[in-house]
């Protein structure tokens, strides 16, 4: 009897094992719905890997047993114990800072040891589950002596499969331009808006047109909303919302003269910046204006978002970048990024880096947590627009030219790809989940291929590019149910789960104050005068002091009570005004 090849057995075992571990991981962070991890491609990949190791094992076995037959292979595990997890993977999937745990006091550490263990286990499982991801990222490697940026789009198109080749296309729309564009969240749908009033929405993969209208006035910005069923267009005066049939659903007169828009999907907020220097946040699920700020900086040329915390960013002509939250009437962060006008800002999807470009021909990379510049590059011409992909590739447009950098965050200056379009680029955006960069320009739209720019493995509970109508509806309900309240927008997205240290310190200080409350000046004369120097007098004095202490304590308590009461009355009188109501305002 011939035993089945060892590689296959191992692969099967490993896959079942990983399925279990993956389920455990799924329990932890987001949802507990039973998963259905696809084994197909992953299994194939595993088989390949194990084929390589199979020969080694066989050799080892032969050396050990001294026989030369391939039959009766050993049943013992060649990889005893759990598969090791690299530190890098752990870092990638980790959600909790180790330093935070180490910072705890020793006596608290014991309490959190179990928690830390659980977290570590979750991270390990998550990191291991990476092997199950079915897709591999794209890549482009040059031959010896060649450079990737020398390859033209035509060459790339010729060398890729037919499906990918069809993703490269050019729309020649010289009549109603210049154009702005926007990809929907799941990356299948594209929205084009021409300055002369042309609005078009289509499924760019199948090239199927959803709607095409002419609004007969200028279009300045276009934006898909939470799902590819609705989009907003900032027109000459007001902002309109259309559905995919091109039917006008709403006219948002409050958003007038808008220059740029951003949509925060988890908050259902449409953020808009206007000619007059106003910032607006409209909750599109219930139609209310959530925030309206006069930035007092004149025309706001562009608005960008930080996807990790929902803060929006603006860049100004004096080289300043500001961050805004609807909960604060002033900016949350203000930093001088460039010595001349800021042309564009992008934040990466992890929320740790920000990239700015200025008219001083420089591109700067900032550490968003420290708010300090990390690298600075100077290029030949002033960059006009920036785009950052999920895999941290940066596209920089220089008038009608585009340069794409692969590892700019880690400091490589050589471009990855270069491309030239017919006219000045108005919008550059990487398509989510596809290796494609969309460039809307004066003469239409260009879709170019950038291998390796996109996230290969999506999470269908978040965004599913291949969802059908039913799944889309389901996702909409889920998204609406978990809509984050606008009051929770703040710089640190995890603030809600942290201890309010300031309040805690206040409380501790208050309790300390009770202990250190000074008693009133004591008048012991009356006691001392009676019988000087006796033990009774000393006792009486002691009692007197104690009584004074207790009185002081009581007075202090009464005082604080009074303060609390008066504060409550004040708060009740006060209407709910704007002003900073951070994420922790609810604790008051």
């Amino acid at each position: 009897m011939v035993a089945p090849p060892i590689g296959v057995i191992q692969a099967k075992e490993l896959v079942t094992y990983l399925k279990h571990t993956l389920q455990a991981v799924i329990m932890a962070p987001i949802s507990t719905k039973a998963s259905n991890p696809k084994g197909g491609k992953g299994l194939k990949g595993l088989k390949k890997k194990f084929k390589a190791s199979k020969s080694k094992i066989l050799k080892k076995y032969r050396d050990h047993s001294g026989t030369d037959t391939g039959k009766d292979l050993p049943q013992e595990d060649p990889f005893p114990g759990e598969a090791p997890v690299s530190e890098e993977a752990k870092k990638k999937f980790g959600r909790v800072d180790d330093e935070e745990l180490n910072a705890l006091k020793k006596n608290r550490r014991a309490k959190f040891r179990n928690l830390a263990k659980k977290i570590e286990q979750t991270v390990r499982f998550a990191a291991r589950s990476e092997i199950l991801l079915p897709e591999d990222h794209g890549y482009l490697e040059a031959e010896k002596g060649e450079k990737t940026y020398r390859y033209t789009q035509n060459e790339i198109q010729e060398n890729v499969d037919i499906t990918s080749a069809s993703k490269r296309f050019t729309l020649d729309l010289s009549q109603f331009g210049p154009y702005v564009s926007n990809y929907s969240r799941e990356g299948r749908h594209l929205l084009l808006g021409g300055r002369m009033g042309h609005l078009a929405a289509f499924d760019w993969l199948t090239k199927k047109l959803l709607c095409e209208i002419n609004v007969m006035e200028s279009v300045h910005a276009v934006q898909w909303l939470h799902q590819p069923t609705m989009f907003a267009a900032a027109q000459k005066k007001w902002t309109y919302i259309y559905d995919t049939e091109g039917i006008e659903l709403h006219c948002l007169k409050a958003l007038n003269n808008v220059t740029s828009m951003e949509f925060l999907p988890y908050h259902f907020l449409l953020a808009a910046a206007s000619e007059s220097g106003f910032l607006h946040w409209v909750d599109i699920s219930i139609g209310t204006m959530v925030g309206r700020i006069n930035t007092k900086t004149g025309r706001i040329p562009f608005l960008r978002k930080n996807p990790t915390n929902g803060i929006v960013l603006t860049g100004h002509q004096n080289g300043v970048v500001r961050m805004w939250s609807p909960n604060s009437s002033t900016n949350v962060v203000e930093l001088l990024a460039h010595k001349s006008s800021v042309t564009d800002v992008v934040v990466d999807r992890g929320g740790s880096h920000m990239i700015t470009s200025g008219l001083d021909r420089s591109i700067k990379i900032w550490d968003l947590r420290m708010l300090r510049p990390m690298h600075s590059y100077t290029i030949g011409r002033a960059p006009t627009h920036l785009a950052l992909s999920d895999k941290k590739m940066l596209a920089v447009t220089l008038a009608n030219q585009v340069e794409i950098y692969r590892d700019i965050l880690s400091g490589t200056e050589e471009p990855y790809l270069r491309h030239q379009v017919a006219s000045t680029v108005m919008t550059a955006q990487f398509c989510p989940f596809e290796d494609v960069l969309g460039l809307a320009h004066g003469n239409g739209f260009d879709s170019i291929l950038v291998p390796g720019s996109a996230e290969a493995n999506f999470d269908s509970y978040e965004i599913n590019p291949l969802m059908n109508k039913k799944q889309r509806r389901e996702a909409e309900v889920k998204l609406l149910l978990n809509k984050i309240q606008p009051e929770m927008i703040c710089l640190d997205p995890d603030e809600i789960s942290q201890v309010d240290v300031l309040k805690l310190r206040e409380r501790i200080d208050a309790s300390k104050q009770v202990l250190w409350r000074k008693p009133r000046a004591l008048n012991l004369d009356s006691i001392m005068a009676k019988r000087k120097g006796t033990a009774k007098v000393a006792k009486a004095a002691k009692q007197y002091i104690e009584a004074e202490h207790t009185r002081a304590k009581r007075e202090f308590h009464e005082e604080t009570l009074k303060q609390k009461k008066s504060k409550k009355v004040k708060d009740a009188k006060k209407p709910n005004l704007e002003g900073f109501q951070g994420v922790l305002a609810r604790f008051q």
């Binding site: 962070p29 039973a34 259905n36 031959e143 060649e146 060398n159 999807r349 590019p465 978990n482 995890d494």
Partner: protein, 437 residues
């Protein structure tokens, strides 16, 4: 040129036929899940709201008795079996699954004072104010004993054929014999409640009208301990999982949990009722107990908590005379003065019937969320909120005012006495008047 573009085969991601489940692709990388904490918090708030929306604890009311129901007893073998006895001497057998009465009998002249099952369902004992103890089997009388003294209560040993009655003394009987084996006494007052411990089977506790709790070991000649409280206790129940712990329902609106080894202070005071607490019963898990009170409400307390987890009431329910926790820890049965038994869910928002694995996983997830975010003010407020009748609401308020003013008065009194001892003893110690051995 080495090149690879990202191409997905839609067949790998979509279901083959419309009868299949949708295929899902997971990637747990944190970068793909922005704002996870804020979303989880929102989900927790939603879970709290959903929990309250589905909180419909009342299942049914069982009518049939023609006078106030005084006692309810659990069937030792069936979860759905319950027996109840009323003041007019009638005993009724109930089938909770079908929500109907399966038999009734006029057992005694005058009120029934004691009702309990023996080790098996073959033995059901009743005791009435007519000084008789009757033994029943399948709703038929098997044996009658005429006692010389009045009987106030009855309890059966969990592992032998012995049972105890309360009256002028605590008497120990054996099934089939007409005379008590022996009598136990400490002091002279009327004893109106007697309870056996389910774990330490020979341990017996009695409550008497001199406000005392007396503990006996039936293997010994004399009683073990006696604790006198400030006010009298109405009912006692041993914790079925913690051999040394028991809880008493007190006349002063509170319940107190004690440790037998340390009776100088109560382990925990359970304060939420606004009327005398008349009865209580432990959940078989030993983590919770249910109590019924004169304030027309049923409350469920975690053993280690001062405040109740749940309060049940209906418009028509009058003072609750007896409560029982079902043996699967899922239901609560209450008997009240207006002749009805009521069946409640122990977890108000629990979904009854068969749940699919997906439903269960969502329920588990929501539970985890609530435990993780339960201390956030918004979540806490929603979870804690109960709508109670106006009268009850006013009484609760009144009680709070009374307690706080009493405390203030005590502090002021102490401030102005010569010996300024400002350390006020807590209620757990205060209620104990004396402990005797």
């Amino acid at each position: 040129m080495k090149i690879k573009m990202l191409v997905r085969n839609p067949d790998d991601y979509t279901r083959e036929t419309s009868r299949d489940l949708h295929r899902h692709q997971r990637n747990v990388e944190p970068e793909l899940h922005p704002l996870a904490t804020a979303r989880e918090y929102t989900a927790a708030v939603n879970a709290a709201k959903i929990d309250r929306i589905f909180a419909k604890p009342f299942l049914c009311s069982l009518g049939g008795h023609r006078d106030a129901v005084e006692i309810v007893a659990k069937h030792p073998e069936k979860i759905s079996g319950v027996v109840s006895a009323s003041v007019d001497g009638e005993v009724r057998w109930w089938d909770l699954t079908n929500r109907r009465c399966v038999g009734n009998v006029q057992a005694h002249d005058g009120p029934v004072r004691g009702l309990c099952y023996g080790q098996t369902s073959d033995v059901l004992l009743t005791a009435g104010q007519d000084q008789s103890i009757k033994q029943w089997r399948d709703q038929e009388i098997r044996h009658t004993i005429l006692s010389k003294t009045t009987i106030m209560n009855l309890a059966h040993h969990y592992k032998s054929q012995m049972f105890a009655t309360a009256g002028e003394t605590v008497s120990l009987w054996e099934e089939g014999r007409n005379e008590p084996l022996r009598s136990l006494n400490w002091g002279v007052d009327t004893i109106y409640n007697v309870t056996f411990s389910p774990i330490e089977c020979d341990l017996l506790a009695s409550l008497s009208s001199d406000r005392s709790i007396v503990l006996y070991d039936i293997r010994e000649a004399t009683p073990l301990r006696k604790v006198t409280l400030e006010m009298r206790s109405n009912a006692l129940c041993f914790n079925p999982m913690q051999a040394m712990h028991f809880t008493v329902a007190n006349e002063n609106f509170n319940l107190y949990t004690f440790d037998i080894r340390h009776l100088k202070t109560a382990l925990q005071a359970h304060t939420d009722h606004v009327g005398a607490v008349l009865s209580l019963d432990y959940s078989p898990t030993g983590t919770e107990f249910v109590s019924g009170s004169y304030d027309k409400s049923v409350r469920i307390f975690p053993v280690d908590s001062m405040r109740s987890r749940e309060v049940y009431h209906t418009k028509r329910m009058q003072k609750v005379t007896s409560v029982v926790y079902s043996m699967d820890a899922k239901y609560v049965i209450s008997a009240s003065d207006e002749m009805n038994l009521r069946l409640w869910k122990a977890k108000a928002s629990e979904q009854l019937g068969i749940t699919s694995s997906r439903e269960r996983s969502i329920q588990n997830y929501n539970e985890t969320l609530l435990s993780r975010y339960g201390s956030h003010p918004t979540v806490k407020r929603i979870v804690k909120h109960r709508h109670i009748p106006k009268q009850l609401y006013q009484q609760v308020k009144e009680k709070q005012i009374m307690l706080s003013s009493r405390k203030t008065k005590e502090i002021r009194r102490r401030m102005h006495t010569k010996k300024k001892d400002l350390k006020i003893p807590n209620t757990k110690q205060q209620i104990i008047v004396e402990e005797e051995e």
